[in-house]
């Protein structure tokens, strides 16, 4: 694929000799306006790539923190239409930070895959991660997304062996998201040595950047994991910072700062990842 915001950003960050910080927040958590303020504040706080969750009632691959974030968003009236609108509003003020929408297939299927791709592209979305669309289902969304000029970012996991890896990577673009554990989001801390080995294995099969996520909660882990990865993804810790800032379930004056403080700290972690021990 030709150059995209995602490839440009990974290249720029690599030129600085550090991994990218990829941050996840849920669209509409805890409400549309606050989520927009949070997303808008992420680049200055140190986020290089932004993943925006599309809330779904049945997030089978997510742990309690992201489940709760999705429910807060849905209770706040978030829909896929509004999620695309959130990206459009963000993009009006930021032409460069890559935006990846992440979620499950059903809301997209009901929206209509072709219409979704058109609307997402027009709003300034750069890539998609759809958890329950493995390569076996590429004709559903992946192939049309690539045709529409969107990156389709695939998850590789510890169960994706060398035999299967080429299949998983075949239509992947933008970057590869390595899930560091077998499990759900927000679970155990990954073992840095094993992750490094897995990243090396994936890199033998692809020239795409490899970002590592699931279980990275703090600057220290981000630094450790980032030593060998091209990007570090943090999600549950961020949505928990949002949860911790709420008063009676609603955004408080401390909500945006709770996120930017954490992200700034994580950014220091990735900045130090390649520093000599």
């Amino acid at each position: 694929m030709t150059e995209t915001r995602i490839s440009r950003r990974f290249a720029a960050v690599a030129a600085q000799g550090r991994p990218a910080l990829v941050t996840f927040v849920m669209a509409g958590d805890p409400d549309f306006d606050t989520a927009l303020s949070i997303v808008s504040a992420l680049p200055a706080a140190g986020a290089d790539v932004i993943e925006i969750g599309m809330p779904f009632s049945d997030p089978m691959a997510d742990g309690p923190a992201i489940q709760a974030a999705g429910l807060r968003a849905l209770h706040g009236g978030q829909t896929l239409v509004k999620t695309i609108e959130l990206v459009r509003r963000f993009r009006a003020a930021d032409a460069e930070t890559p935006i990846v929408l992440m979620g499950y297939y059903n809301p997209i299927y009901v929206y209509g895959p072709e219409r979704f791709l058109t609307d997402a592209k027009a709003a300034g979305v750069d890539g998609l991660i759809v958890v329950d669309l493995p390569p076996e289902a590429d004709d559903e969304l992946c192939t049309p997304a690539l045709a529409a000029g969107l990156n389709f970012i695939r998850l590789a996991t510890p169960t994706t062996d060398d035999h299967r890896l080429p299949r998983v990577l075949a239509n992947t673009s933008g970057f590869v998201y390595y899930v560091s554990i077998t499990g759900i989001t927000g679970a155990a801390k990954p073992d840095a040595a094993r992750v490094a080995e897995a990243v090396g294995r994936i890199k033998r099969h692809t020239s795409l950047p490899v970002a590592v996520g699931f279980g990275v909660r703090d600057a220290e882990t981000a630094r450790e994991i980032g030593r060998n990865a091209d990007g570090v993804v943090v999600g549950s810790a961020i949505v928990q910072a949002i949860a911790g800032s709420l008063v009676d379930g609603k955004a408080s004056p401390a909500t945006v700062a709770a996120v930017t403080t954490l992200v700034a700290d994580l950014a220091r972690g990735v900045a130090a990842a390649r520093a000599a021990e």
Partner: protein, 415 residues
């Protein structure tokens, strides 16, 4: 695949689809496991030793074949409603007589043998009414494997006898509080467990839903219901029944009864969904085919109860075993092809049928097949007396007596 022309019994295709429905919509972590399962099942079904062991357990452990019974007094009851002019014979395929009290054991025996064959050492299962949980706990006990059952917190409350039964059988029962705490939430939690414990864990899905190969595999293990029915009815009457009918939760007892009859066009087939408070009541029912539309959940594309944004609705049914917003993909396909007629029955109709069956036949049915019986009570009086309907009496009602007592305004001290 070698497709026999004009057969409705050859699905799914090699990618796990029944027409538009089915498939393998799962996270990458699970994909290699599902492919491995498909291979293992393919090998097992061709292995005479596997078949022989399953047949032996079905006979000596589960108590098969289950009886086919002519429900004479219910038949008379329906005939009386027409002044004796009409009224098909009502027959029960008595799956409630199986060990553990429902059809669920048929599937569990097949899958536990497969799990053992695959070298898995830990069993997980989801359950709604608790019948599948009990059957899973039972076969796990029989084969000495630890078993973890996920059950919605709401269902734990309304199916207490089964919760205790599972514990007695040595299973760990984990109440699930997310969502409305019913079957769909239990299935989400079981999938989360599976994704976390991929190496040693076998996910024993309890209905003909989920990613390929589960819908086809569960159907195959349950098809013993329809195969026996065909033989037994033939022995009794020398022909095919005129109609077969079953309740639909995820659709396993129904597809098990229906599948052997799909290519017999003279047999009318009815699936009865949970109509709850009525299919016109928003989110007040669990009739995914009557009141839902196609979507993707729990690994397959199928009819789902959902809102305009693709968020899954909880649905409602008096029966915990039917309280699921989806349905097995083969049913979705059979609906679209028109081969099977799917209709709803309300909570009230099911409750009335539950009471009537207990009084007239001395058989306390589970609330799930009471839905199918409710439709039989509408259908039989419209048919001639020389016609016959076979109902799958999928389970016994012991688990439901406490909650039914509540609905009928009786108080009982809980166990």
């Amino acid at each position: 695949m070698t497709t026999m022309p004009n057969s409705l019994r050859n699905g799914p295709d090699e990618r796990g689809f029944f027409g538009l429905y089915g498939g393998r919509f799962v996270a990458e972590t699970l994909m290699p496991l599902i492919l491995e399962l498909e291979q293992a099942y393919d090998d097992a079904r061709k292995d005479p030793a596997f078949k022989a062991e399953l047949a032996s357990l079905s006979t000596h452990y589960a108590g098969r074949p289950s009886a086919l019974y002519y429900a004479e007094r219910l038949t008379e009851h329906c005939r009386a409603l027409t002044g004796g002019k009409f009224g098909a014979e009502i027959w029960f395929k008595r799956e409630e007589l199986n060990h553990t009290g429902s059809h669920k054991i048929n599937n569990c025996l097949g899958q536990i043998l497969l799990a053992r064959r695959m070298g898995k050492t830990r069993i997980i299962a989801e359950t709604g009414a608790g019948q599948h949980g009990v059957a899973s706990a039972t076969v796990s006990a029989r084969f000495g494997l630890p078993c973890v059952v996920y059950m919605g917190a709401t269902d734990v409350e309304r199916q207490k006898p089964n919760v205790f039964r599972m514990k007695l059988l040595g299973a760990e029962v984990n109440p699930v509080t997310s969502g409305a705490g019913t079957l769909k939430d239990a299935m989400n939690e079981a999938l989360r467990d599976w994704v976390t414990n991929v190496a040693d864990t076998y996910y024993l899905i309890g209905t003909a839903a989920g990613p390929h190969p589960y819908p086809a595999m569960v159907r195959d293990f349950q098809s013993v219901i329809g195969t026996e029915t065909k033989e037994q009815f033939h022995a009794a009457k020398g022909r095919l029944p005129d109609a077969v009918i079953a309740c639909i939760g995820g659709g396993s007892n129904a597809i098990g009864l229906f599948h052997p009859f799909l290519d017999d066009p003279e047999v009318a087939i009815y699936g009865v969904e949970a109509g709850g408070h009525g299919v016109d009541v928003p989110n007040g029912h669990a009739a995914s085919m009557t009141g839902g539309r196609p979507g993707v959940l729990h690994g397959n594309r199928t009819y789902l109860l959902q809102d305009g944004d693709g968020q899954i609705l909880e649905g409602h049914s008096i029966s915990a075993g039917l309280d699921y917003p989806g349905v097995g993909p083969e049913h979705s396909w059979l609906k679209d092809t028109g081969r099977v007629t799917y209709v709803p029955a309300t909570d009230k109709e099911a409750l009335d049928a539950f009471v009537l069956c207990s009084k007239l036949e001395g058989i306390i049915p589970a609330l799930e097949p009471s839905h199918a019986l409710a439709h039989v009570l509408k259908l039989a009086p419209t048919m001639d007396k020389d016609k016959s309907i076979v109902l799958c009496l999928s389970g016994r009602g012991d688990k439901d007596v406490f909650s039914v007592a509540g609905y009928l305004g009786e108080t009982m001290s809980e166990m």
